[in-house]
Symmetry: C2
Subunit: 176 residues, 2 copies
DNA sequence: GTCTATATTTGGATAGAC
DNA sequence: GTCTATCCAAATATAGAC
């Protein structure tokens, strides 16, 4: 298939941006078109409706998840450090997309949760393989969720080294 | 001062409800008035504008935070178990209010973050006193944030016992 | 204190020119 | 493929009756 027109990508980037920084309420077609540098008519040529725009963003995130999980599994620092580090990585495309879709899922588009659940499961699987103990893996992903929660509220990220030290302690301590 | 009219409380409860279940977008004056069983005019008598309604909810949460922190510090199970348990307590008034205000803070009312930051600091202080190690306390509050994140997306809460066991392990292991 | 209009603005979507 | 113009519905807010 032909490469998707650049305008489509610009629209999705603008939509993401507004969702993350100002929330679902502010992500109107007018605002998205403005930020993308196209007219509302132009936007609606690429995405026939607001629902189609939402679907476009969810599909884009789904693709990014596949790539991110592969990167995570191949990361030299290991899956745990990769996950915890990138959870507050506000500038990376993947994390912005994740936060944007979370915004939609909490709001008027609950079906967007599917993509988020997929990411959660993939993360848990990869972390479980790395740390062995499934309970520790679940806790690590929960910590990552906590970091996302704070990031979405604009708070400062926690110290990565501190968290890794705690996870190391969990991993090296035998269960009761 | 005289007791606040019951209608005020009903309006705040309705606002909270809609924010938590359907998001900021759906929390229109019409929808809130409907759910509270009053007319839009009636609502606007008590809260002169949407901003005033938001301020009312933030102030209400601020009061609830004070009470919750006192309960947490006095909890027989201890602050850690109390915090982690109530983080997925979708039915309690405090937690619904917290999620509702988080919804506002992520959206068009960033000043609502003040109340959330207050809660976060109070939780961290109380947990630090209980576990000793500030790093462990920060991790516990991060786990609690993660649970809130999931709850706000409608996912099932994690196993409390599993988390407490992990925290116990952290507490009883000397730092490297 | 609470209601029923009603004014004003904004958001989503269509039609049709270029 | 992108724009302008326009329609319709929804959202905030006001005025004034009860």
């Amino acid at each position: 298939m032909p490469p998707p027109p650049a305008a489509r990508a610009k629209v999705l980037a603008a939509f993401t941006e507004i969702l993350v920084t100002t929330g679902e309420r502010a992500a109107t077609l007018d605002a998205v078109a403005d930020r993308a540098g196209v007219s509302k008519g132009g936007l609606l040529y690429h995405f026939g409706s607001k629902d189609a725009l939402v679907d476009g963003l969810v599909e884009h995130l789904t693709e990014l998840i596949t790539a991110d999980v592969a990167t995570m599994r191949a990361a030299p620092e290991g899956p745990v450090a990769y996950l915890l580090r990138t959870s507050s990585d506000v500038d990376a495309e993947f994390d912005r997309s994740y936060l944007a879709v979370a915004e939609l899922a909490r709001g008027a588009y609950p079906h967007a949760r599917g993509a988020l659940d997929t990411a959660e499961r993939a993360w848990t699987d990869a972390v479980t393989e790395a740390v062995g103990d499934p309970a520790v893996a679940r806790a690590v992903v929960l910590l990552s969720d906590g970091i996302y929660h704070r990031t979405s509220l604009g708070a400062a990220p926690p110290e990565l080294d501190e968290l890794l030290e705690l996870v190391r302690r969990l991993g090296s301590t035998p269960a009761a």
